[in-house]
């Protein structure tokens, strides 16, 4: 995996092969980043917009990637920034919990197990930081040091955020 990333990085740094590198980057990470975004914005169309911006900006500003962190960490960081920009632009909708809960019902596959729908609804009731940390740690299996590289928070803070997120999710689901 790391070896593959090395090839992608070398291609993206080579002016003659940059576009080929972009193709490989998309092939490897597009799906993963899409689901990361989709879980927080819920709507497919919004996730698609953020996904486009994420990969375009990753390509455009690739010279800023210093290689201190993993390629996937860097992509999550760009995706997170794009997501935060997106919700700042659509504040009115994203500030409303009921909007997001309705959106989860609307977007869910009709014959899905109810617990999965409830878990996504619970995720939407979390404060922004807890939502991101829970998404990255629980769903994306990232360790706290990687998450720290993405959000800029220290590991203890992240652990506390994750703990509170899990508590809130449990409370939400039990109350249903």
């Amino acid at each position: 995996m790391v070896e593959e990333d090395g090839i992608i990085i070398n291609l993206l740094r080579n002016s003659k092969h940059r576009e080929k590198g972009a193709g490989l980057l998309l092939a490897k990470y597009q799906q993963r980043i899409y689901w990361y975004i989709r879980r927080v914005v819920v709507s497919h169309e919004d996730a698609e917009d953020i996904l486009q911006e994420t990969f375009f900006n990753a390509y455009r500003y690739f010279d800023k990637f210093e290689g201190n962190s993993g390629l996937y960490t860097w992509l999550y960081k760009i995706a997170t920034n794009e997501y935060l920009k997106f919700i700042a632009k659509h504040k009115a909708e994203f500030i409303s919990e009921s909007y997001l809960l309705d959106k989860v019902s609307e977007e869910s596959i009709k014959d899905s197990d109810e617990i999965f729908i409830l878990l996504q609804k619970a995720l939407q009731t979390l404060p922004e930081k807890q939502k991101l940390v829970f998404n990255l740690h629980y769903y994306e299996d990232l360790d706290y040091s990687d998450i720290s590289g993405i959000t800029g928070d220290n590991v203890n803070n992240l652990k506390a955020n994750y703990y509170h997120a899990v508590q809130r999710i449990k409370e939400f689901i039990i109350s249903q």
């Binding site: 576009e19 193709g23 597009q30």
Partner: protein
Amino acid sequence: MKNFDLASVGKEIPYDIPNGFLSESSAKILGRISSYEKKRMMRRRRVVVMYYAAAVLAIGIVAGIAFYPQKSNQQIDYVLKHVSDNDLQKLEKTVTSDPFY
């Protein structure tokens, strides 16, 4: 729901994505990257052309100043020799009647 254990729930997402979305999305992003690259190359080419044009202009100005043909006294003498007295008088009158003379 009374009993809930996060560890046993699993990570399934209840959302769907349209068929072929990922390949369509890749094509869109790569298309955008390709047109960005074309624009970037055009911009770079335009800057190079502008630099060359400025350099050629600067060389032209320097060369023009250095090699501009100066009228020699011989040429002036030749002209004066071939002007009629009448024309010379008219010329003198024009010059002396100039209020700024």
